[in-house]
Symmetry: C2
Subunit: 137 residues, 2 copies
DNA sequence: TCTAGGATTTGGACTCTGTCTAACTCTACG
DNA sequence: CGTAGAGTTAGACAGAGTCCAAATCCTAGA
């Protein structure tokens, strides 16, 4: 198990062709040191909690940059906001609708079979499997 | 194949415990007569196109009411808006990321196997499978 | 028919997420 | 040092969706 440090983050950013600035390192660290799914808003709170200031614009810019560069993944389960997932490997999601808690489901044992052929001229970008659960009444 | 009329809609609403008002009938008709996935915005445009006026608040109220009553389903694929799906039977979705087009995948032949057991005290609300595709470059 | 009261609808203000822009800062390099 | 280009910033803005108090629409009963 790797221990994530801010230095690691600089490395990580460089390997993804991203110029490691202070803000970018802090944001990457926020995402990777926890293994959680965070919203832009949560990222901003975390980052501004310890280290000085990072603006909203930068948080969004940076998250979108990370996204483009394939460093993180977007998870769309909540109609009101996007979550960002530092785990880009294949896996699925469990979404607790009451609490908004989002957790991973390992892809290892899950098989999805029988999907129809794609329409001509189309290629798959990704397959999202979301299991929505709630507390039993 | 059923032909959807406004009268049918009144029936349909009643069977779902919804008091059929003018606005509700128009909104239901918009959704069920096309078999499409519509955003709240699109519903409003369609409804206000022919018949007089329905306010934004009513459109949202009504869609949420339909949702609660299990008349329609919510499809969350686009970070910026929710789609409403008149088809509540089991099926999956194909989402074209460039164009925003959303189409159904019949559930008949699709098998999802090996999902881990749910955490204790949780029950499944639904399983969403979304295949994201794009036009091949 | 008339009317009271609950259900429904409405406009408009408001919130929240996310984007845009133009100015500002930083840094690397000559 | 001085400057160009990348990065950051505040704040204005846009769009989806919610909220609320007031207006309107039924409908049952007199």
């Amino acid at each position: 198990m790797i221990h994530y440090s801010r230095d690691n983050m600089a490395e990580l950013l460089r390997t993804h062709d991203i110029n490691p600035t202070h803000q970018r390192i802090e944001i990457a660290y926020a995402l990777f040191s926890r293994h959680e799914h965070l919203s832009a808003d949560q990222v901003m709170t975390i980052v501004n909690d310890r280290h000085a200031e990072t603006s909203k614009a930068t948080v969004y810019n940076t998250l979108n940059l990370f996204l483009e560069k394939g460093l993180i993944r977007e998870v769309i389960v909540d109609p009101s906001k996007v979550f960002y997932d530092p785990n880009t490997g294949p896996h699925h999601h469990l979404y607790e609708v009451d609490s908004g808690r989002l957790t991973d489901i390992a892809a290892d044992d899950v098989r999805i079979e029988g999907l129809p052929a794609l329409p001509k001229g189309m290629e798959t970008v990704g397959i999202d499997l979301i299991v929505r659960v709630k507390r039993t009444a």
